[in-house]
Symmetry: C2
Subunit: 158 residues, 2 copies
Amino acid sequence: MRVSTRGQYGLRAMLELALHYAEGPMTLRRVAARQAISESYLEQLLGTLRRAGLVVSVRGVQGGYRLARPPEEIRVGEIIRAVEGPIAPTECVVEGGEPECWRAPHCVSRLLWEKLRDSMLAVLDSTTLADLCAEAEVMTAGARAGVFPHGGRTTSEG
Amino acid sequence: MRVSTRGQYGLRAMLELALHYAEGPMTLRRVAARQAISESYLEQLLGTLRRAGLVVSVRGVQGGYRLARPPEEIRVGEIIRAVEGPIAPTECVVEGGEPECWRAPHCVSRLLWEKLRDSMLAVLDSTTLADLCAEAEVMTAGARAGVFPHGGRTTSEG
DNA sequence: AATATACCCGAGTAAAAAAGTCGGGTTTAA
DNA sequence: TTAAACCCGACTTTTTTACTCGGGTATATT
């Protein structure tokens, strides 16, 4: 029950673009380097994300990628769906899925998978890139103040 | 982000055993037939579940499998863990997992995966086989005297 | 004791998915 | 004109999944 590297890399790349949203387009090369992802593989993913309408690309010399919308308006769920397909623990509970198996009407497990799916969606579709940026902000603020990221304190006096 | 057939079959098999918990051990053959699972594949799974302490087996002529504990005391999460390993959307957030990657301290995505994991655990570890049996009861009550695909009966209740 | 039933188990295999690579093409600022 | 970047489909390798198989062991019954 793992999210693939496509999902993980996709999120990291989008997050990287979100953190530099104010600046112009960011090159594939730079994103790949900062996130330690193979360039050729990331190129695939960014292509997918572009076709899904989540990023826009600028070709040519000063080109690169940027988010198609501000970070507040991009949900993690969208990213995952773009690179991994529908979010569902089983085939039989894909959102808007018609192809119920013959046992669906009396299938108790299916109810469980639905609940699981919904709890996953609750997290993924309620979190935006801006939310994650804010958390990154807190982390780096803590690090700047000499507090290790998993420590409780966010700021320090003086 | 799918649960494998091991997880799905494992749950269905355990649910089958739960529904017949009162009666003696149930044969592999019968479970496989009622849940439409290949016998040899199910045998593997039940072996795993036995080694995990979730079912006990009785060998020989009148043998079969039964739950190691009453349905109230078996959580779905235990079953999934037994047949699929730790429940976590990424390697970096496995419960009790030490091997954090080098980027863990400043990794924002990781926080998200933790939240996702926790929401999954909330569902899987709060649901017992007894809960599912109760839901099955409600379902069959609605369809009482109705048609069952396998002509199955739920309990030995008169 | 023989037998049939039923669990036990490791090894093996085929198919699918995941992960990542490659080479050649197009756009565009300088 | 050139070099920086994106574009894209096809290809390969690796890993995981989903099974199958064949022979072994325990045991109730006859």
